[in-house]
Amino acid sequence: MDTSHVLEVQSIHTFIGQFHILEGVTVTVPRGSITVLLGRNGAGKTTTLRSIMGLTPPLQGSITLNGESLIGLAPYRIAQMGVGYVPEHRAIFKDLTVRENLIIAQRSARDLERRSDLIFELFPDLAKFYHLPGGNLSGGQQQMLAIARALVPDNQLLLVDEPSEGLAPVIIEQLITAIRRLSEQVTVLLVEQNFRVASLLADRYVIIDDGQSVASGLMAELVHDEALIQKYLGVA
């Protein structure tokens, strides 16, 4: 068994209703790395993360976490095996306070206590608004909370979906620093439309186009491969 990879997704096929959304996606995530999923709007990036999480379970293909298969497991079992999920659009619980948003992510009673130093160091704002409802936070603070929530338990892997979406440049810089810091502790699979952010953060990339993974490799090489970027991402 190859333990240098935390996550291995092998040609998965996912349906939503009768629609065939993923038609063969393969992603491998090396331990300790940040891997980014790139691709146009509607390519299937979010669906790939949701398939890994078991929220839209694939009908074909295999997914393994540290060699253990995730296929057929309920999402909560997958989470308990050490997968943290930061969904798109900052899906925090708006009626719950910051503290409650973090408490709910605990898997054992002292998780939050153990991690609070790290969390407050990365995101000092959260300490300031600890007892305020999540819905009262700014967009950037909500995104910080969503990431902090995934940091509360011990996770092997974080799935982070478009963290920079709709944030001001200053906040994005803060976010980049934070994601770098936390990647020292945990492996990250990131979806990021902002190519600059992706190139600053990621070690490796996988390009998804129309439900299929079409290219992958080192981020440092992709930056120079203008033909590939043009073809699938449409940015120069």
Binding site: L55, A74, P75, Y76, A91, F93, E100, I104, R107, P153
Partner: protein
């Protein structure tokens, strides 16, 4: 929070309007005014016991449980039957009643567990059928009660009954049963207890989070289906408990299911689907409104029909005027 403040203003205005209306139509008879308000609180507490489960279950699982009234009715029948069972007549009445209530609540919980696990769980992919099924189950409960106990209504006579059921007290010259006051107190305690459970415990946090986004709760490593089952079971148990403690005053009859389901739905819509505070406040408002209108229509219109259709009229009015409820966010 300006939205909450304006909502509270509306609530206070409505309450005040109801109180004033009742006060002036009782033409200076303070006793009549007082008993009307107490009757309203009594009804409101019973509505709350049905509506609490209805609202939380709807918020969390997206199922409006049309069988909730049937659980209330079943609770009343079981309590009535056990209390009057000849075999138990040797037991002291003051012990017989709480035991009957406990048994009825337990049966309600069990039937709730069976409904969620056995019938609703296979249908989460087909929500329309879930709705239809709860409606069907309500009918089945009614028919089963009819098959066991017949169609005649039972009324609970205070003679040969238990302690507080026999006593009453006087407000401004009018009699009011101590037992109904006891029910009001029990209701208040439960409102606070369930509120604390939701606010202070981890389970409560999970439930409130699930009302917002149950998929995300699941993705945090929590077995949401198990939480669904627990909440559904508790919701049905509380409704059955409501019927059980209502029985000494209301007896047991086959019309009870709808007579409490519809006002409870009115409460839930008024309070805002899924909002606990809305449910608690809405219960008292609807209870007061029903009692005030009932008294007015029997005294001034000489027609009891208005009092029996008040809950429906209220529900229709709420749906017409404010379908998103007082504390609700969305109704689409």
């Amino acid at each position: 929070m300006p939205q909450t403040r304006s909502t509270l203003m509306i609530v206070m205005a409505l309450t005040l309007a109801l109180l004033l209306f009742s006060f002036f139509t009782s033409r200076g008879d303070l006793g009549s005014f007082g008993t009307t308000i107490l009757s309203g609180l009594f009804l409101g507490m019973l509505y709350f016991l049905v509506a609490a489960g209805l609202s939380i279950i709807f918020g969390l699982m997206d199922i409006l449980n049309f069988a909730q009234g049937a659980y209330f009715m079943t609770g009343a029948y079981i309590t009535f039957a056990l209390f009057h069972l000849p075999a138990f007549q040797g037991v002291d009445a003051n012990l017989r009643f709480p035991s009957a209530v406990a048994a009825a609540t337990a049966v309600g919980a069990l039937l709730g567990l069976l409904l969620e696990r056995g019938l609703l769980r296979p249908l989460y992919a087909r929500p329309i059928f879930q709705l239809v099924l709860t409606f069907g189950v309500a009918i089945i409960f009614g028919e089963a009660l009819k098959a066991i106990w017949g169609t005649a209504a039972f009324s609970w006579s205070p003679i040969n009954s238990f302690g507080i059921h026999q006593s009453g007290f006087e407000i401004f010259g009018r009699q009011f049963g101590t037992y109904r006051l006891f029910v009001i107190a029990v209701g208040l305690v439960l409102i606070v207890l369930i509120g604390l459970l939701l606010q202070r415990t981890r389970t409560g946090i999970i439930i409130r989070a699930g009302v917002e986004d149950s998929e995300m709760v699941q993705a945090l490593g929590i077995n949401v289906r198990a939480v669904f089952t627990m909440v559904f079971t508790l919701g049905c148990a509380v409704a059955a408990f409501g019927g059980a403690i209502a029985a000494p005053f209301l007896g047991a009859n086959l019309g009870m299911g709808n007579a409490f389901l519809l006002p409870a739905i009115a409460v839930v819509v008024l309070g805002g689907l899924g909002s606990y505070m809305g449910t608690a406040i809405g219960s008292l408002l609807v209870g007061l409104a029903v009692a005030v209108v009932a008294k007015f229509s029997t005294e001034f219109l000489n027609q009891t029909v208005w009092s029996s259709i008040t809950p429906m009229l209220l529900l229709i009015l709420i749906l017409l005027l404010r379908p998103s409820g007082l504390f609700g966010k969305e109704s689409r």
